[in-house]
Chain length 338, copies 4
């Protein structure tokens, strides 16, 4: 951590900064410049110190954090790639993993039809939401527990792992009874009560990026899960909010190489929520694999025109089958298989 | 809702759109242009229809929502300003209301000192967080229930109402025993489980704006509270995330006249979290009153240099007293008092 | 264009709107709803009408533009893909085109070394800036005309077309004497004096996206070039400004399928300026081809450590050669060659 | 400037960084931490060094700039407030200055009517654009030189100074013949050819903030003007581009205290372009004065319903007169007069 003093700061003000750093068990080195003094605060865990601890002191101009605030999710902490294994499906290994299905569980027929399409096209995990966080209270909120039961039956019938969202810290046990992967949605990425609860469950978890959160905040949120001893964390990029409105969100494609550089956690991409429109999904899915993603989360619906939620961004079964076939050469070009 | 058909769309495709609208109980009017056909879907509650219901149909180019998706929070629904009354303090009335105190409850001494400053300077509500949503799991998370008990004692001693945050839907009853106003933080604005739970409590609630949510999404989140029959909703603007980094967030000053135009709910502003630095707070507080805010939420700490959380954005007692004195003429210029 | 009247608007106010539309030669259709009236304004060029012309009229609640404001750049205007031919190199054809070289022309030796690398690695166009728009007046501003002369000699020696930036409307003729493609930089995308001047030159032009401009504004800026009769327009996506700071800009990967859907113009991607760091460039280059880009603009420098401008985002010659080899399979997966 | 080396960086890599810094005339101080080494580069002008000069060296993890890149515009360079004097009107003094008028010069009648309103309401400078940078080539582009002549006649008739935009570096002399203040528009804030040309003219200049530029970039752009010896620079905040769409741009209210802290230049605010709608303008104008702005740039039109450009954000004469009256108490509350 670098504390820059103001031009004209007094000896006493500088001593104050040094004293506070030492009281926190840090080492200090002074740089007395022509114009101003810079205090370097050294130690192995300065990433965890609040910058305010120094910024509030008199005579301080600015405080710059050099070390990242996340720790357990960092590649420095664990240099080797993590692989999360779900009933034999490995996320983060050589094979690219596709999770697919409708946005919301609507009925048993719909989920059976979806599972068939997903499996026949070569995807390996089924998605479907029973609890739906909706912007308006007057919209369909999901089938809740009845939806979980449908998921459980379809999962058994097709022998396919299932990922579904949990929205309340007190529903974690319930959802964990039915699902192989617990999904934490974008709007809940900084719902720390939920993160801690899912962390304690020790179940595989898909942590979607908050649509207005930085990569650094995302990895720090992953620390909440890892700090509870849950190492089965999969990250999911799903687009960030920007001024551009030709897609629903802006897929942050460079987050893929950035995450691969700074973290050991596996990372998949949800092109459907980023796009908001089915016609953009194939290009974004291919780009994600080309950039090094470990997998995809894709919305497919047996009948998008009749979907209760997010029909516009869902692929039809035939479009999905075509996309799966087209993804193969891109996975291979990236040194992977599908 | 306006459905624009593609150039060359067929009669059957247009009929499809019309049929779906009618099946939802809507009226329809066709505009057959030289180039393309536009279908206007009419009715008193088209704001609640998902645009996807039409956008997925073949031959549709785009769907534009004319009516806003929120309803209960709108001025159309309730033309007269709402006033929320908390133990005799009215938010949304002629008098501008200042809520002030430290970010986090740290100790009884700290809260007693804070309450004294708040009261003596003329502010009318005491703030202080017992449950703190922190970006990293390794930072101070608040005193939790012990913090609530401190709040309760100070509230009684100084006869001052108290606002504090709730972060878990299952803590609402607990927090409501100690606090006069339940605060929903920025990161939880779209935590719909929490919104519903606080809505059911029927207690006064301070709904902070999500730092990456639009005004429309914010008012739609308020609908979650109002839909449960809780009419005591106070909105709180606290800055949005943008590319500019000279302040922690960008205070959206124009949200004040926008909210006043479109909603009946009272609105206060938190300049401290927007600024991130105490030196910017006074200018932003004055600007908020000038723009028509009904009040302020300001961080003040008896000793900012020793604060466990957000010390840099906290005013000292003397700076706060000076600000309160300076706010008077601005409140009067705005036709209010303080 | 859809004009929504306020609830309670009068007959006279509606008549006013209708009269103004008719005075502009438009057709009108009225939708008298239960709550409010909606006026649809129809005609083949409503995209060119300012929405304010109606929004200012009394009784109007909102005006929504249905047609896009750009015209000549739209796929509706020219359904077939445009191909720009530069001395035998076709941009927008089956072969993916790579333009590469240093950010700034620094010396003849540097450009000769660069041209050798570019050509040997299989790229087909050489880049290099003689006029450099720099954020600070105290930074290196380019060699200007001396730089153009170096470019011209290297271009002849290696028989390779050259792209270089023009920043002043009155330098267009000068730069056009030396360069095969005139580049309009991101900060000049809405410098309409420059756009018109380059348009009149009728030379091939590379129009970079403004880093805070929408796709719609970008295509409308292209209309300035096309309106002067210059059809040789190549678009270049180079990242947009967002809150995320792990890359210099956020590459808007979905702009690729969006542009392909709405415009006939060829589109290349500059991953170097978006990334800001060489380590991110390969992943972003591959993703761009996977998403359907017609080419790339890549910074390569014979000695990045000694570069005067943007060394951190420049690839070394060996990294560039490796990237060119790795791009092949991605181009093929996308049905192209390189 | 702080150069952080990677964990495990070699002695040679560190020596390399030190050698480069010394070759640039800088002093260096090494901080050898437990984990990694940090090199502090000291000197009075490190703000002007490109960070890339060090970031490209092997073994470097990150480079952090401590000093700001702008120099002449900084308060460190000139601690006392600058005041720009235009024919007796002082911008940056105790009196708040209001510049007002229509967006575009349309006719002599319109400008005469505008000047009358502006003067009678107590504003002191007349605005009006003769060269209009418009998003689409098919929109009205301004009356150009004929517009300047109208401005000149009205300026003489009413003895009121005039501010108007210049868009081409080669029109600066022409425009300077007619106008008292040259305006550089938001889209041209980083048009460095234009900045240099206006700088050389030594005429008072109004530098609007680029709608996607940081405060730091804005002050660095001002350095282009100041570096040419033009000290008569007035800054103008006019809103930044964000995700929020209830106003046309988001007025960055906190830029006012930030600029006042870091720069000596006077600063006015344009609430009209930020708002995009006349109904929001008064609240934003009042907030700007409350936050410490030195003046306002307001659009007023004798007949907004007939305006050729931006009618929706223009005030009517009576609304403007009312606003001017209402601003008085806010200016006084801020310790100013109007």
């Amino acid at each position: 951590m670098i504390v820059e003093m103001r031009t004209g700061s007094t000896r006493e003000e500088i001593d104050n900064v040094v004293a506070r750093a030492k009281s926190m068990g840090m080492k200090v080195q002074l740089n007395v410049g022509t114009d101003r003094t810079v205090v370097a605060i050294l130690g192995s865990n300065t990433g965890g110190l609040p910058t305010d601890a120094f910024a509030v002191l008199p005579g301080v101009e600015s405080v710059t954090r050099i070390m990242k605030p996340y720790k357990l999710a960092s590649r420095g902490f664990k240099p080797k790639d993590s692989v999360v294994s779900i009933n034999g499906v490995e996320v983060g290994g050589r094979r690219v993993v596709v999770m697919a299905g409708p946005c919301a569980v609507e009925s048993e027929e719909q989920m059976v039809a979806s599972a068939r399409v997903v499996k026949e096209s070569g995807a390996s995990i089924l998605r479907g939401g029973a609890f739906k966080p909706r912007t308006s209270p007057f919209n369909f909120q999901g089938l809740e527990e009845a939806g979980l039961e449908i998921l459980a039956r379809v999962r058994k019938q097709f022998a396919i792992p299932v990922v579904t969202e949990v929205v309340d810290p007190h529903d974690v046990e319930l959802v964990a009874e039915y699902a192989d992967i617990l999904q934490i949605g974008s709007r809940n990425m900084q719902n720390f009560a939920l993160l801690s609860s899912v962390g304690r469950s020790k179940r595989p978890v898909l942590l979607k990026r908050g649509f207005a959160c930085t990569v650094t905040e995302w990895l720090t949120a992953a620390d909440y899960l890892l700090a509870e001893g849950n190492n089965q964390v999969i990250l999911c990029e799903r687009g960030i909010r920007t001024f551009e409105d030709s897609a629903r969100f802006s897929l942050d494609i460079s987050s893929i190489p950035v995450i691969k550089q700074f973290s050991h956690l596996p990372l998949i991409v949800d092109p459907s929520h980023a796009a908001g429109h089915y016609s953009l999904v194939p290009a974004m899915a291919k780009a994600s694999l080309a950039a090094g993603a470990d997998g995809l989360l894709v919305e497919v619906h047996p009948n998008p025109k009749g979907a209760l939620v997010d029909g516009l961004q869902s692929l039809t079964p035939s479009d999905f089958a075509r996309l799966m076939a087209e993804l193969g050469p891109f996975a291979e070009a990236a040194g992977r298989c599908i």
